[in-house]
Symmetry: C2
Subunit: 357 residues, 2 copies
Amino acid sequence: MPTGKASSTSKSASRVTIADIARRAGVTNTAVSLAINGKPGVSDETRERIRQIASDLRWTPNHAARALRGRGARAVGLVLARPEEAIEQEAFFARFITGAQATLSKHHFSLQLQMAADLTAEAAIHAEWVATGSVDGIIVLDPRAHDPRVTQLLSLGHPTIVVGGDDEGPSLASIRTDDGRFMRTILDHLIGLGHRRIGYVTGEQSFFHIRSRIDAFNETTIDAGVSGAVLSGDFSAKRAQSATKRLMESPNRPTAMIYDSELMAIAGLARLSTMKLSVPGDVSIVSWEDSQICQVLHPSLTTLDRDAVSLGRLAAADLLRLLSGDPIKPLEHRAAVIARESTAPPDGVDGTGAARR
Amino acid sequence: MPTGKASSTSKSASRVTIADIARRAGVTNTAVSLAINGKPGVSDETRERIRQIASDLRWTPNHAARALRGRGARAVGLVLARPEEAIEQEAFFARFITGAQATLSKHHFSLQLQMAADLTAEAAIHAEWVATGSVDGIIVLDPRAHDPRVTQLLSLGHPTIVVGGDDEGPSLASIRTDDGRFMRTILDHLIGLGHRRIGYVTGEQSFFHIRSRIDAFNETTIDAGVSGAVLSGDFSAKRAQSATKRLMESPNRPTAMIYDSELMAIAGLARLSTMKLSVPGDVSIVSWEDSQICQVLHPSLTTLDRDAVSLGRLAAADLLRLLSGDPIKPLEHRAAVIARESTAPPDGVDGTGAARR
DNA sequence: CTGAAAGCGCTTACAG
DNA sequence: CTGAAAGCGCTTACAG
């Protein structure tokens, strides 16, 4: 006897349906449906009366019935493709989901969340969602160059928003996260402080947005006549530490470091401390992605604050627009450098220009 | 023209239904339904043939139709009651969701995730879920003493699992998170190292499990003849820092500190460093909740590792059992102290007994 | 503007 | 074991 189906005896206790409303209002089901959904076909007066009765009766729509009738599932799907045990970017995901969920709720959409071990598993979930019609639209995170998920979704024609991609299609739009521009903002901050040798430890290079960061890093340092050193990482603390060590032991060691995540930045900070290098005395540090921990650390970390909550909201809003056929306004995602204790002018520089940006 | 309804012209392109399978197999819809759902009424031979055809045709069940027919939504609901901008325990939630989702997927259930600003909003979401039948069961996190959500769900009779509570009912079960026992484990570690004055900065006291921790802290320190000092916090870095300062300035300052979250522990660490107190030289620190950051910090933090992923799995599994009417086995949630650099014997103690536990 | 009816895809009594 | 049919709650052509 699992679920409490106690009330199956009395008819009155069962769910309120539009038929109940119709009976009370003395109209047909059709009229009720029209009234509730704001469609033409009933007088304003009748509509108001029906709506009043619906709310009196505490009627709520049956999603299953609506979905079956072809009105869509009123759900949006999001797959997090990470190995179950190792979600490195928890904070980003939690915030993104929070934002997306907030916007979706407002429009009475639900968020279907699934975890997948890899891209193949993620694509399989997408395919099933499309086949079963269980979600009206899909959000794709962390696109790769020539991403198989995007290719599939494009050919399936299922409404999709790609966060941080640049693909476009009749049923697919991308949110430009502008990682290149953000990288330039960080470099402006560092170069403005007087740094001339800058190291960069990257996240997983297969991500499209990480490649944008790397390209921007290389171009900007070259244009500015600054020496830039890129070491590829994988978002892990371990790689961040070994890369930091290598950079610091090089004959021409950087005076400033950029890390692609909070965890990597903290790992780098710890490694520097082991090497008796002080932050920001000997080396300045910037973390891509802000958090309360960055703020509270000693020294506190200068970060790029991307506001993942609003990015989630933006993605959901765009997907909803795609679903309703409204044009997507290519709103750009914003971010800013939050300067804290971990960045300062390098030794021997008086900090002129530090006020830039 | 929002969704791509391109294929409405040809009949063949529309979704595969059990009618298609029935036609191919030369049986009725009834037989197909019975065969697929493993119910008696068809021969093993026929069942196998039907299942083969279903998979050949790449048939997938239509959840909406099943839900409408009363088979349940095959969804589980979880509300995160936090103000949108301030999810302090991101890591815990992310891991819990990961675990719950993994178990749910295996059984073809989806996870409905909603955010709410407070308990009232959360209870309203629960009520709507029950009214619309959009979830078969609900998971409640962070229960309070006399929690209004639990009271409501109990009276609604909707299948519910409370994580960290102790309420029981015909349709409601609790997972004992055993916070009291975990607190004792932490104190064993600290007392074993030789600490005799221990401070504890708590999280939000309205949480049932935080009260269990406080009770266990008080009882255990009293029983051990150790001086314990509790200062109430709210999971914020700010309160953690002011509490740390107050404790350290007291005439009889603690030689060890326990913090109810990672963020609070890091905030405390930073405050100690400002006060020129070294960790673990002057003060030992323990964080409730482990993370990669705790591991990478310098000094690395001793933590209580709760394994939120498996807690999520456990909650989902129990809810599924509740749904199917199977008995819930009251499996206990496990946790262990991971000793790292931030804890050591206090000054003047040689560490005898440090091997305890 | 209103009524009567079909149908979305499935499951479940009810006869054979 | 198999068939024919009703019905879950809604929306949407189709007549009036």
